[in-house]
């Protein structure tokens, strides 16, 4: 779960990291009032789960409160990579001497937290890593010993020469690690970490992703989820316990298992169609879940056909078939539905489906090909 900049900054503040003050505005008037409070020179920043805010016009410097109001007016409601800006962060402008990058995330290959630091901050770190690898230092934390003070110092020492800046930064690195572990984050990033002409080190942007699997035991962090910042269908899917990702195609997919769901999407493409979504209903044959899935897929106006691809391993296919039939009896679906069910009790399932008037297929290729044909028809 991604946090907004202002939420991540609050986590950083709790850990002691120096972060400039800031307040959230939902209207231009609020932005103006906040700018007034901060003396006029402020930055107005779109709060949206997407990179490239700056390029999209989502970050603007204001010289006075009226200017802040004007910028907020432009940014609120702006669409950035498909997401509408509902909130802006208004924060005093900082004088900047240097910009660095400081991040920590869970590294898959070392199975441990890894720090990434670079004196080339304020820009895309992946790009820096590719074009100027010498300017990036990586450090894997041994999870058995945690981040040790000298390791934080070594990393800080890679960024600056001034002992005073190194000292402040080593402390911030320790605090960032603390924020990372205390929130169950999978990623925490300060970009840029700035130095000011007065010799202070500060975090003026903040990004954090929290591991979804942590949220059950961290209600305070779970409550930070901003459902207004994601497609409505995804909110509904999560509430129904479904894995769902909205896409732009016309073939709705309802599959059990994440791997099979991805392979089904790929096969839609293989047969010349475009998948409308990723959806994993899990191992369940629960009609409520099937009904929610169907409703979510059908509510997408782009969807022209819907396919089920179910491989009954542990789950019995006849149970799933009954679940589908019952779900369809509850809700009305405009788009044609084609179903493939195979595995345990397959024959029984196909009989149930055919009796209910549905096309029923035994092969994944057949059902996908038919779904694409129907969508293109």
């Amino acid at each position: 779960m991604d946090l907004h900049e202002y939420q991540a900054k609050e986590c950083f503040r709790t850990a002691g990291i120096p972060v400039p003050p800031g307040k959230i505005a939902r209207t231009p008037e609020q932005a103006e009032a906040i700018a007034m409070e901060y003396g006029g020179n402020v930055v107005v920043k779109a709060q949206v789960h997407s990179g490239g805010r700056g390029k999209a016009g989502g970050v603007k410097l204001a010289v006075d409160p009226a200017d802040a109001r004007k910028h907020a007016q432009n940014i609120l409601g702006l669409e950035i990579k498909g997401l509408t800006v509902e909130k802006v962060l208004v924060t005093p402008t900082e004088e900047i001497d240097t910009e660095a990058y400081l991040g920590v995330l869970i590294d898959r290959s070392s199975q441990a937290p890894i720090f990434i630091v670079s004196a080339a901050g304020g820009i895309d770190i992946e790009e820096v890593a590719e074009t100027r690898p010498d300017e990036v230092r990586r450090f894997v934390v041994d999870p058995r010993h945690g981040l040790l003070p000298h390791q934080a110092f070594w990393l800080a020492d890679f960024l600056y020469d001034d002992p005073e800046l190194i000292k402040q930064t080593a402390k911030i690195i320790g605090q960032l690690y603390e924020a990372f572990t205390n929130t169950g984050a999978s990623m925490a990033e300060i970009n840029p970490l700035i130095t000011t002409p007065e010799g202070k080190v500060k975090a003026i942007d903040a990004k954090m992703s929290i591991d979804e699997n942590e949220l059950f035991r961290r209600p305070d962090i779970a409550s930070l989820r901003d459902t207004s910042a994601e497609p409505k269908a995804e909110t509904l899917a999560r509430e129904a316990g479904l894995s769902f990702v909205k896409l732009d195609g016309e073939v709705g997919c309802c599959v059990n298992g994440a791997g099979l769901a991805m392979a089904t999407m790929d096969l839609v493409k293989y047969y010349g169609g475009e998948p409308a979504n990723f959806l994993d209903i899990g191992g369940s044959s629960n009609p409520d879940k099937v009904a929610s899935a169907l409703q979510i897929i059908a509510s997408d106006p782009n969807v022209k056909s819907i396919l089920f691809n179910i491989f009954g391993g542990i789950t019995r296919c006849d149970d799933v078939a009954n679940g589908i039939i019952e779900a369809l009896s509850r809700i009305e679906i405009r788009a044609p539905i084609v179903i493939r069910l195979t595995g345990t009790n397959e024959e029984l399932a196909l009989e149930i489906l055919q009796n209910a008037g549905f096309s029923a297929y035994a092969s994944m290729d057949d059902v996908v090909e038919e779904a694409v044909r129907l969508a293109r028809a």
Partner: protein, 294 residues
């Protein structure tokens, strides 16, 4: 022969009295794998009733279970909040292999659990994996016994249902399996592709291997290099997620393209660059296998 399991597998199930744990323990017992013990803290002394007239004793701790029954493999069904703890308990109890089925284990918990298991030299499979099955020999996990059959193919996959799909097709074409291993869909997993490939390479009965990957991480790329550098047996690959958008988690916590890294295209290219045949769709896997076997 088979990998990570054999007819001497002696299984202990952690979380044996839970809904999933009890169901799959019965399936496992029915398949003929000896479940010598179950563990549920507080239920020690009770008896688990399996299919037919099979039963198995329940212990309070892995410590007791292993010392009383000489179990050598643990299968874990405990809830996510306690799963990492259960893996560490298993790793300290003396078993050689820990198979963690539980989905949704916090990743920072797994950082600790993997470090602990590594320190003790204990193999972990998973978490969030379907486990493994060696047809006719041992079933450790939730892969259904009736879709597999004995034969010369080793199969390793990050996905459960995609494993069913592929095994189903292999079996239908008469291509049986030595062992099918689901390594799991989480970002931090114990046993990885290379571990399995290397075990299959050493397994005398395995003649060819099917490897099913997906988006996220670089395990498939590293496996491709390993195959071209260190393996003599043929491998057929498949990668799911060609149409997945970047930055979105596709069900599995590990199935996510980060920035421009971990894409299906990248992985398919790694296979091709290392001379590994890649199936365009699941249905092509069988054909490629037949090709490499002939």
């Amino acid at each position: 022969m088979a990998i990570f399991s054999s007819s001497s597998t002696r299984l202990v199930v952690q979380g044996i009295t839970g809904r999933d744990g009890s169901f799959h323990t019965r399936e496992t017992m029915a398949y003929g794998t000896p479940v010598v013990a179950g563990v549920t803290p507080g239920k020690g002394g009770e008896i688990f009733i399996g299919p037919g007239d099979l039963t198995t004793p329940i212990y309070n701790s892995m410590d007791q279970a292993v010392s009383e029954t000489d179990a050598n493999t643990s299968l874990i069904f405990v809830p996510p909040a306690f799963a990492a703890g259960a893996i560490m308990e298993a790793a300290e109890s003396g078993v050689d292999l820990v198979v963690a089925i539980t989905e949704g284990v916090p990743v920072q918990d797994m950082v600790r659990a993997h470090a602990f298991a590594r320190d003790r030299g204990v193999r972990v499979l998973g978490p969030n994996c379907p486990g493994l099955i060696s047809p006719g020999k041992a079933k450790i996990g939730i892969l259904p016994g009736h879709i597999v059959t004995e034969g010369p193919i080793g199969l390793v996959s990050r996905s459960g249902t995609l494993t069913y799909e592929s095994v189903h097709q292999l079996t239908a074409m008469g291509l049986g399996q030595t062992t099918c291993v689901g390594i799991g869909g989480d970002p931090l997993i114990g046993t990885n592709f290379i571990d399995c490939l290397s075990a299959f390479e050493s397994d005398q009965e395995t003649e060819a291997i099917v490897m099913i990957g997906e988006i996220g991480g670089t395990d498939e790329q590293e496996a491709a290099e390993y195959i071209s550098g260190d393996m003599s047996k043929p491998v057929v690959g498949f990668i799911a997620g060609q149409t997945a958008p970047p930055g979105r988690r596709m069900g599995h916590a590990g199935a996510i393209i980060s920035g421009s890294s971990g894409t299906a295209a990248e992985k398919i290219k790694a296979f091709e660059d290392n001379g590994v045949g890649v199936a365009n769709r699941p249905a092509d896997i069988v054909g490629l296998v037949q090709e490499v076997l002939s």
